[in-house]
Amino acid sequence: MNLLPNKQTCRTVFLFVLIIQCFSAQAQQKYWVFFTNKANTVFNPYTYFDAKAIERRIINNVSLVDSTDFPINEFYYNTVSANVDSVSNSTRWFNGMCVYANENQIQKIQQFYFVRSIEALPFQSMHLASYNETSFNEKLSDDQKKLLVGQTTRLQADEFKKANIDGSGIRIAIFDAGFPNVDTNPAFEHIRKANKIIKTYDFVRKKDFVYGYAEHGSCVLSCIAGKAGDVNIGLATGAEFLLARTEMGKREPFSEEENWLAAVEWSDKNGVQIINSSLGYTGDRYFTTDMNGKKSLVSRAANLAARKGILVVNAAGNEGSSAWKTIGTPADADSVLTVGGIDMASDFHTDFSSYGPTADNRLKPNVCAFGHVIAAGKNGLEKTQGTSFSSPLVAGFAACALQTNRNLKNMELYLEIEKSADLYPYFDYAHGYGVPQASYFTEKNKTQSTATFDFVNENNYLTVKIQDAFFGKDTIDTKSNRLYYHIENDKGVITSYYIISVENQDVLKFSNYDYKKGQKIMVHYKNYTNSFTF
């Protein structure tokens, strides 16, 4: 019997093969081409940098003439440009350019003596760290008004307000998916009137206009500096802004790390002191084991930005209740201030906020703030949620903190923000050091916290005993009678952590036999932290 296919089969097979071809790697693809050197290039920091960038570098003891800031060798650039289909972007910091090319072109480029390496750049999703949004127009319910006030009050915004601190003179860049109606929305009128939007750039479409597209960026900006009538949505209402559109927004098709990298170099050049980045890469390209702060290009770029004196504030991510669970990148970078989310009602971790630690067991997130907020979106005030909005609350806080002491270097500011948090020196991988508190920066005479509990080690049992003065008979859980504790292994890595409500004076009891030498229990109760090492 003849089993050879007929014409119809041939057509079907041809269609199938055509689809297969679409999957093949022969098609034009994006590549990073990195060069070996920057020979014969000239760099003048005084013509390249904004005055504010020079000021920031001087404060942070960063050299004004750093090899990473030198331009790409023009000959290398032109040679590669002539041998590819088009150039998408270039990077001074990593001495390379991003190009569209096919395999034959790449093979040819690989032979050039000045090419160090070539990396394929697969398309991938950049996740905006936010959840679904519900529009509430301009009107807010009582609960929503309470949330609006609470999101800044939890950071002690009043303390900054009393001290006339509003982030004035601090320059913040926001990397996001678009900023619709920021040029018209009344929530940003004070920023526009004072000409505080210094520069804008759309790195996706390569043009200046950013006041369209996804509203995520508008919400983020409002959580740094927006106003809802007389009520501040964020803390840094007096700061200056650079708005960068680096993401494609809700369509989340396949935006790339290159936009983030281009935007960070642009921010550096224009004197930015703080970057807020409410986004992150997760499972589309990486494994959780890759979240070590070294694997991704954005993570390395974020660390390089920190080396140049910029404080990078990044959302932890919204994978807490998904299989991924852990933070994304660049939130995994060691010099990035990673912000987790808490729930207003419980005042502790909100389920979607991504957990630490990093793959190499470093503490992340560093601090936390409300993960459910009222923000100014495209069409007015909205209740929305995501660590995307925790991050700008802390970025605004950081601007205010920097205003209290403009001589703080970026990593000093990073550490001071951690120290200001309400759980510090206690930490865990859901809350970091807790919620930053403005009084840490505004109060001249800082009071030492008094002991609220004791460790009693008797008869081979370690008991955590609440002191009489701090033990209430009320057994109903209130925010003030919560006790945080974690157990660390002998390498300083937390193995488990808890929040409990104190209902007994002997609140915790551990058998010495269950713990190895070197294991540590750290407890935090009513602003007092102490630890016991077995």
């Binding site: 019997m1 003849n2 089993l3 050879l4 296919p5 007929n6 119809q8 089969t9 079907t12 097979v13 199938f16 689809i19 297969i20 999957f23 093949s24 790697a25 394929a120 697969p122 997760t282 499972g283 589309d284 390209r285 990486y286 494994f287 959780t288 084991t289 890759d290 991924w324 669970k325 852990t326 419980s346 502790f348 971790h349 957990y355 630690p357 067991n361 991988y429 859901a430 049992y461 859980d477 919560r482 890595v493 937390i494 193995t495 488990s496 952590y497 808890y498 929040i499 409990i500 409500s501 209902e503 007994n504 002997d506 609140v507 915790l508 009891k509 551990f510 058998s511 036999y513 269950d514």
Partner: protein
């Protein structure tokens, strides 16, 4: 005595725990989070179930058994295992059940199984199939299945086959009906063991698949024309 010992064990274990009356508001076991999984979409091994639906395409030359495209279909439910060799290559097996129905075109030239024309006539095959495949993955990815192409071979056993004939009678029969359905279970001319090749192209959960039967549908002792042997459809994975 036994009860006393049990009581002491329980009492001791209670003392051993941190505090019996704690009201735990929040708890995380980091050690569980940091265990590197052995199974996952892009880990060493990955298993998942899937369903699929495909259409049978007539592939024969003149004289072959003509089937009706559109109503000749296949439903598949299966389990697939993948073992990753490297980022671009994996091997695996697939165990599935499929129901494949060939709607036989009624025409004056029809010869299978008889030349009689009915309103509809369908050869229904219920098969268990085992497949071995090679997988080529495209591009870098995280813990995602990603884009891939599978090429494999299968063997299947038709455990419950039937020829179903439906017709309309010119007049009401003895049972008061004008419609009649006849089922010829496990016809002896059908080859129960079949084999062929298969391919899939997919992006994560969704795959376009094609199977091509290389064996002959009917036993050699019968001179029936061969049936269509190309099936193209869509599969959706559950994971």
């Amino acid at each position: 005595m036994k009860k006393l010992v049990l009581f002491l064990i329980i009492a001791f274990s209670f003392l051993n725990t941190m505090c019996s009356s704690q009201n735990v508001l929040f708890k995380q076991e980091v050690t569980l989070d940091t265990v590197i999984p052995k199974k996952g979409p892009n880990y060493r091994n990955f298993d998942h179930y899937y369903i699929g639906y495909g259409f049978i395409f007539d592939t024969q030359h003149f004289g072959a058994l003509e089937t009706i495209i559109g109503s000749s279909t296949q439903f598949v439910f299966g389990f697939r295992h993948k073992t990753k060799i490297n980022n671009h290559y994996a091997i695996g097996y697939d165990i599935s059940y499929n129901t494949t129905g060939y709607s036989i075109k009624q025409s004056p030239t029809k010869s299978f199984p008889t030349s009689v024309n009915y309103k509809s006539e369908k050869l229904l095959m219920r098969n268990f199939r085992v497949e071995l495949y090679n997988r080529i993955n495209f591009g870098k990815r995280g813990n995602k299945v990603g884009k891939f192409m599978d090429i494999g071979a299968f063997g299947e056993y038709g455990f419950a086959n039937a020829l179903i004939v439906k017709d309309k009678l010119p007049a009401t029969n003895a049972f008061g009906s004008t419609k009649v359905k006849m089922v010829n279970k496990n016809p002896n001319y059908v080859n129960k063991l079949n084999y062929g090749i298969t391919t899939r192209i997919a992006n994560n959960r969704v795959a376009i698949y094609a199977t091509y039967r290389l064996s002959e549908m009917f036993l050699a002792s019968y001179t029936y024309p061969e049936t269509a042997n190309l099936i193209v459809g869509v599969q959706v994975g559950f994971y």
